[in-house]
């Protein structure tokens, strides 16, 4: 009981710590000019955050590292300026240096969205788009991403978005039946089939999240830092290290099977008792345990047994807040990516859909500003983003 009270208070403390602040782990300035001139000097007041001051001065919460860098640079020549070691921690009475916009941009190495430009850029639609039905997967809803970014769309376009969060298959079906105006899903093959069959138009890449191979810190298979996920799995198999599989025919389980197939190891082919066409692949040996449960239970069991497992990053990160001590060992292999696409439902097939709204949504979703929001989502809470922006515009700007 005590243990749980402790956990709950830890969780609350983490929330308090992370609320409002953005952890310092996101990109600090790459280039540091020799000297900096302060356009403005600000003394920290109660309830000030660097990001809050940045928002006031530059109209961009993400400009806060520029203030910190400039202040630290000033501190070397004038000690009345504060020395900021942790960007999340500033104290009342500290003197900060706010550089000019141009200097800030140099410090940050990215362009600031100046507040006076924003409104004209972001209102390309003259009329309100109204009610828009978005069919999407549970991951975008459950991770809190949509709740974080949709208010921006609704404000800019006068829209009210109704989110229907279901499995990818069902989301696509809603689009096929014209029950949704726009779909946001992650199953490339089915997305393409959806467009090829004429149900959808204007498919755009939006973002991806990824799977990570996690395991005990001791890492008995010695896979830490490997970039080839198939090679890492082979090593787990060869060292007979315990591996927990979801084994529940979920997207993660299907992904895991394709990764095992990529290893070239001999696999058992288990025919489904009900549907002999369907085959489950699994490696041979007692070290491989299939538990047939959801991601949460799988992480709990892997943590208890100090075993390896495959998890989506968001669920893993969320569980680290509750004290699982497994660590990410392999990440970044393109085979671990899980790309999301946004598709408008074809208005020629279903004249009743909100085509204008869907087009606006796709423009907005792939715009630089929204992509920036996506790339920031989760950073405050977990120290790393949950989704990686991937729209054509974003990649071009990079």
């Amino acid at each position: 009981m005590l243990k749980y009270l402790w956990k709950i208070s830890l969780f609350v403390a983490l929330l308090v710590l992370s609320g409002g602040a953005i952890t310092s782990e996101i990109t600090h300035a790459q280039s540091s000019p020799e000297a900096v001139t302060c356009e403005q000097e600000v003394v920290v007041q109660a309830d000030d955050w660097l990001s809050k001051i940045a928002e006031k001065a530059y109209g961009d919460v993400l400009a806060y590292p520029a203030i910190a860098e400039a202040t630290n640079l000033k501190n070397t020549e004038d000690e009345s300026f504060a020395q900021i070691e942790n960007y999340d921690l500033i104290e009342v009475g500290w003197k900060l240096c706010l550089p000019s916009v141009a200097d800030a941009e140099t410090l940050l190495d990215f362009a600031l969205a100046a507040p006076e430009v924003t409104p004209s850029e972001s209102e390309p639609v003259s009329t309100d788009v109204g009610r828009l039905v978005l069919a999407t997967t549970t991951s975008t809803e459950n991770s809190g991403l949509l709740a974080a970014i949709l208010p921006d769309f609704e404000a800019k376009y006068g829209a009210s978005v109704e989110v229907i969060a279901v499995g990818t298959g069902q989301a696509i079906e809603l689009g096929e039946n014209g029950d949704a105006d726009v779909v946001l899903v992650h199953a490339r093959d089915r997305e393409d089939a959806f467009v090829d069959a004429g149900y959808g138009v204007n498919r755009q890449d939006v973002m991806y999240n990824d799977f990570v191979l996690i395991g005990p810190e001791a890492d008995p298979a010695g896979i830490k830092g490997m970039t080839d996920v198939a090679a890492a799995l082979t090593q787990i198999a060869e060292t007979n290290s315990l591996f927990i599989s979801r084994g529940d025919d979920s997207g993660t389980h299907i992904k895991e099977q394709t990764l095992w197939q990529a290893t070239g190891l001999p696999l058992d082919e288990v025919k489904d008792l009900e549907d002999p066409e369907k085959i489950t692949y699994k490696p041979q040996g007692d070290w491989y345990q299939s538990i047939g449960q959801g991601m949460g239970a799988t992480l709990t069991i892997a943590n208890e047994q100090q075993a390896y497992t495959l998890s989506d990053r968001a669920t893993y990160l969320a569980r680290t807040l509750e004290g699982i001590d497994l660590v990410i060992l392999v990440e970044g292999d393109s085979r671990l990516f899980n790309p999301y696409g946004v598709i408008a439902v074809n208005p020629e097939l279903h004249p009743t859909v909100n085509a204008e709204g869907a087009a606006a949504f796709i423009d907005w979703m792939t715009s630089l500003e929204t992509q920036q929001l996506i790339s920031e989502f989760g950073v405050a809470e977990f120290g790393q983003p949950l989704f990686v922006s991937d729209s054509a515009a974003w990649n071009a700007a990079k």
Binding site: L273, D275, Q289, I291, G292, Q293, I301, E304, Q306
Partner: protein
């Protein structure tokens, strides 16, 4: 409805297919619940009999606790056993979590109050004069107790049947402490949950029928023990 009929047909096909994975699951279900029932019988019948016959301070409180235990949610017991056996729990060194041992522990705790409680009720229903009469005829306290238990045989067997019914059909606790690991801790109830979640209703129904049938067989066997009482 179609699902159900199709499920029943397929159930027999699957059962007759002698699929080894299925028989492993059936065998484990029976083994885990059987051993747990054995433990709870060995513990529960003496305790129930003692509480019915002996007079000691705190008996009323103990009775209340026992009755509470009879209605205790199995999943809460599962949670308790999980926390005890967890790596960070007091009995973590045993390494029992996610093994059949953990499932037996949980099921013993679930079924033992049922066995003890029903035994107590059955023994209390025996004429209190009987014990005095037996003692006056020269029986030792042990002999008297055994005779009274035999007299209460029907009730005691009901106690065992109730204990078995509670654990063979239980899913929450064994899922928590067993982990539903294929070929290791997967039993009929957790397999039913899994197949239902996968949308394999036919297979889920088949497993459900197997469970019903097993339960029926075990109860028939126990009733045969009761045998003469019905004639």
């Amino acid at each position: 409805m179609n699902d159900l009929i199709q499920g029943i047909i397929q159930a027999f096909e699957i059962i007759l297919s002698l699929n080894s994975a299925l028989y492993e699951i059936i065998w484990l279900s029976l083994a885990v619940s059987g051993i747990a029932l054995l433990f709870s019988t060995v513990l529960g019948i003496p305790l129930g009999a003692a509480m019915a016959m002996a007079r000691f301070p705190g008996r009323r409180l103990m009775t209340a606790l026992l009755y509470t235990g009879m209605g205790f949610p199995p999943v809460v017991i599962g949670l308790f056993v999980y926390l005890m056996l967890s790596r960070s729990g007091p009995a973590g060194q045993l390494g029992w979590l996610f093994t059949p041992k953990a499932m037996i522990v949980a099921q013993t705790i679930i079924s033992f109050p049922l066995v003890a409680g029903f035994t107590m009720a059955a023994v209390m229903g025996v004429d209190p004069q009987l014990r005095r009469q037996l003692m006056s005829l020269g029986a030792t306290p042990w002999q008297a107790t055994v005779t009274i238990l035999l007299e209460a045989k029907i009730g005691v067997i009901v106690a065992i049947v109730a204990g078995f019914g509670a654990i063979i059909s239980e899913v929450g606790a064994v899922m928590l402490v067993g982990g539903n690991i294929e070929g290791k801790t997967r039993v009929l109830t957790t397999a039913i949950v899994l197949e239902t979640q996968k949308g394999n209703f036919d297979l889920a129904i088949a497993l459900g029928l197997v469970l019903l049938f097993l339960s029926f067989l075990v109860n028939v066997a126990l009733l045969r023990l009761q045998g003469r009482a019905f004639s």
